[in-house]
């Protein structure tokens, strides 16, 4: 997953786009070392000391990791659990939609 996320974040560095994580690790020191190693630069909420049983994943009924949601600029859920090329396409489609909406304003 990491290489694909890295390339998505890099490719869209100047676009109105954000990758937001919800991280369910419990050892933050260990995690931060791993993030340095893997060059994970995107921002994450922390799901708390209960790990996968933490409040955010419980509220969102997440039962499998990773779980992916793709939201448009209005905050509407448009895709769920798309990976790889399908994730790229989903994001590109929503960015195109956003730029069309802005130019018609």
């Amino acid at each position: 997953m990491y290489p694909h996320e890295r390339s998505l974040v890099k490719r869209l560095a100047d676009a109105p786009f954000a990758l937001i994580g919800v991280n369910s690790d419990t050892d933050l020191d260990k995690l931060k070392k791993r993030m340095d190693e893997e060059n994970i630069t995107w921002r994450s909420f922390w799901n708390g000391p209960a790990g996968t049983g933490g409040p955010i994943s419980t509220a969102w009924n997440v039962r499998a990791w990773p779980t992916i949601y793709v939201l448009d600029a209005k905050g509407v859920i448009r895709f769920k659990n798309v990976r790889g090329e399908r994730l790229d396409k989903a994001v590109d489609e929503l960015l195109a939609e956003l730029s069309a909406a802005e130019s018609s304003d």
């Binding site: 690790d25 996968t52 955010i56």
Partner: protein, 274 residues
């Protein structure tokens, strides 16, 4: 690209974790030794302590089996590399050494037969030996003697998997009778949640009603939270729904909100480094 042997090992570890099927490469003689040790335990050992001890022994066997498998894979890889041939992955015997563990859980279930204390041992057997006679017998005992027990929450949560061989109609009738007759609210609530999942596509309105009833009924905070999470998913996490707000803190403790990113296309990634 991932090394095929590593992939095989990950797949194995995942299989063990998901199915919770303990495995062991411990030879039968070694396992018998630990059986003798069990007999020497003081008679007053509680069911809970006994369960924990037996479960720990299973985990140790499983870890030893995985380590032995990993070593065999590495050895084969080195040999293959030295000989300039493709590596042949060794077979993994999941059932090896399990018989002794199963016998211990059976004897514990027999010792506490007819009481709530038997349930955890029977549930373990029904899971770990699901496709064997031992597992089927344990499931049979649970369904005939323990449907009104307060200790079957875990069984109920796994019933569609554990009871796969019974067929969906029988699983459904078991859940219906627990919901109707089990006097413990948390067990009833778990049965409602399990039944809901099985009819989500066939009857979404009834599935939602089950979860709502579970949320009102449950006393255990974890079951309440689980029911509320399902309701949130059904009501607010569908394609076309506005995503619920997330308010929290990042990994450096700095507070932020999902809605801070309104105006941008956002990918939310529930992840962990494992």
């Amino acid at each position: 690209m991932r090394h095929p042997a590593r992939t095989a090992l990950f797949a194995l570890a995942a299989l063990l974790a998901v199915a919770a099927v303990p495995a062991s490469l411990v030879r039968a003689e070694d396992a018998e030794d630990s059986g003798d040790a069990a007999v020497q335990q003081p008679a007053e050992e509680t069911a809970k302590a006994l369960f924990e001890r037996l479960e720990k022994a299973v985990n140790e066997s499983r870890n030893a089996a995985i380590a032995a498998y990993k070593a065999a894979v590495e050895k084969e890889q080195k040999a293959a590399e030295a000989e300039g041939r493709a590596a042949v992955m060794p077979a993994y015997d999941m059932a090896a050494g399990m018989a002794a563990h199963i016998a211990e859980f059976q004897s514990a279930a027999a010792r506490f037969a007819g009481t709530d204390d038997a349930v955890q041992f029977l549930t373990w057997l029904a899971m770990a030996a699901r496709t064997d006679e031992a597992g089927k017998a344990a499931l049979g005992t649970l369904l005939s003697e323990h449907l009104r027990s307060g200790a079957i929450t875990r069984l109920v949560s796994m019933l569609p998997f554990v009871g796969r061989d019974l067929g969906p109609a029988r699983v459904r009738s078991v859940l219906d009778s627990i919901i109707a007759d089990n006097p413990h609210p948390d067990v009833q609530a778990q049965a409602l949640i399990t039944r809901s999942a099985s009819r989500r596509s066939a009857d979404p309105a009834a599935a939602r009603a089950d979860v709502e009833r579970a949320a009102g009924l449950a006393e255990d905070a974890k079951i309440v939270a689980r029911a509320k999470g399902i309701l949130t998913e059904l009501d607010h996490l569908q394609i076309g729904s506005v995503a619920p707000e997330i308010e929290g803190a990042d990994l450096d403790g700095v507070a932020f909100k999902l809605s801070d990113y309104r105006g941008k296309v956002v990918v939310i990634d529930f992840w962990g480094d494992w």
